[in-house]
Amino acid sequence: MLIRSAPDLKDCDVTDEGLYLRRREFITAGTALGAALALGAGEAGAAPLAHSPNKMPIDEKPTPLKDIAGYNNFYEFGTNKDDPAAHAGTLRARPWTVTVDGLCKKPGRIAIDDLVKRFPLEERIYRMRCVEAWSMVIPWVGFPLASLIGQAEPTGQARYVAFETLYDPQQMPGQRDRVIDWPYREGLRMDEAMNPLALLAVGLYGETLPNQDGAPIRLVTPWKYGFKGIKSIVRISFVASPPKTSWNLLAPNEYGFYGNVNPEVDHPRWSQASERRIGEFFRRKTLPFNGYGEQVAAMYRGMDPAKLF
């Protein structure tokens, strides 16, 4: 047997250290691309987003894209679960401008593409618990809401953050029916908005958001029921008093300002003790704060949990 003593590898074969250190990004990008191809993401206009990988440990399998993008509550496109996927094509998610105003030192209007470039994007795989007792696991891509708030520099009087969805019945045909007092509105207390879990999502599964999931930018607060995650945001305002929120306006005894996930506090008409994870047969127990108590429970210390629905 011939044993070669001359080295096979030359200097130029060594991977550049910079590239070596970024190896995980290639894997992530490759995985995202592979996932997108495998799932046939095929959303018209879905574009890949550069992002860093998920850092929060989660041992649950993400819900398939076809379900995340096929089973939605987005009344701006109809009140059935499959309406948004069928009718959200009329939404023009780009160009898009988000207005930041109210009690802050640096208000302004920011184009969505500038916004996406301004903050480093990261993947966050979060559980999503709908108030209707079903849930998903969603690999969002976005940036912390706190980053945007930091740049806007809210004044000391700003105690709450208010959000507004686009109002345009041409693009959102469901707004022709006054099921909700349009535009859809949501709000957070300032400390909730600054919580590292609060995310402004611009994508999922490594690509820009499908219209029916709230393109081009939406809120994600995984410890709250899904209705708090306002979609297709056009305005973020810093305000002094609790802002009006859509579901609370509609049925104040059923949907409070907080909307915190709590298995102990039933919806007046149904139990919140358990949920059905999309893709699973058996119901599972609902966790307090949707399993994010460690990160958020401190914000509500001393408050009556029964009032945080």
Partner: protein, 218 residues
């Protein structure tokens, strides 16, 4: 029930097939992914909706038969009514066996605590005697008058079904309100019709009595 001739038989089987077709469609959808990402919830809801739809169709058959001058249509009330009961049973079975997996404690709590479930259960219980007395033997034993009386319970069951539906809707109340309007119209028709019939009967009786007391002129 007597069905004469090939055409009647054909219509009878067409009605049966029409009532069965939602189930066929669910099975088809199960293979094509048409049951949405949350198939249990979807099927549960759809079974309930079909139960209500067929209850409404059953109530509508008599007025429609009169309107179209097709008295033969009323013969299908039993088939439609029994199918309505079938869908309601499947709806309830899905809730108990699939949605709640026979978790009787939770189900019991639901019935007591959730008005929409209490009302839905009441509607189901009221339907049972109607389904049972659809058997020829029992129909005969009851006699037409008592049978009719008993089956007027559908006028209670249909509105209960509408309220059950209305109470579980989150925001878009238009669909249950449409059913409510139709049921209301059908009940209104029956009430008005009953009034007219009673008045006619009274008039007939009065005429008869008058005839008795007054000697016929030669």
């Amino acid at each position: 029930m007597a069905f004469h001739g090939g055409k009647d038989r054909l219509v009878y089987w067409a009605v049966q097939l029409a009532c069965f077709s939602p189930i066929l469609i669910f099975v088809l959808q199960a293979f094509t992914g048409g049951l949405t990402a949350n198939p249990i919830e979807f099927v549960l809801r759809q079974l309930g909706v079909w139960g209500l739809r067929l209850l409404v169709v059953g109530l509508a058959l008599t007025p429609v038969a009169r309107l179209l001058r097709q008295p033969g249509l009323t013969r299908y009330r039993r088939a439609v009514g029994l199918w309505a009961f079938t869908y309601v049973c499947l709806h309830l079975t899905t809730y108990i066996g699939v949605d709640q997996l026979f978790d009787w404690r939770t189900i019991g709590k639901d019935i007591v605590k959730r008005p929409y479930i209490t009302i839905g259960m009441a509607a189901f219980v009221l339907l049972i005697p109607l389904a049972v007395t659809s058997m020829d033997r029992l129909t005969r034993r009851l006699g037409p008058r008592r049978w009719k009386r008993l089956h007027q319970l559908t006028y209670m069951v249909a509105p209960l079904g509408v309220v059950h539906y209305y109470l579980l809707v989150k925001a878009d109340h238009r669909p249950p309100l449409v059913y409510g309007a139709v049921v209301l119209a059908l009940l209104g028709y029956r009430l008005a019709n009953g009034q007219i019939e009673r008045r006619r009967a009274a008039a007939r009786k009065a005429a008869k009595d008058a005839g008795k007391s007054q000697p016929l002129r030669a």
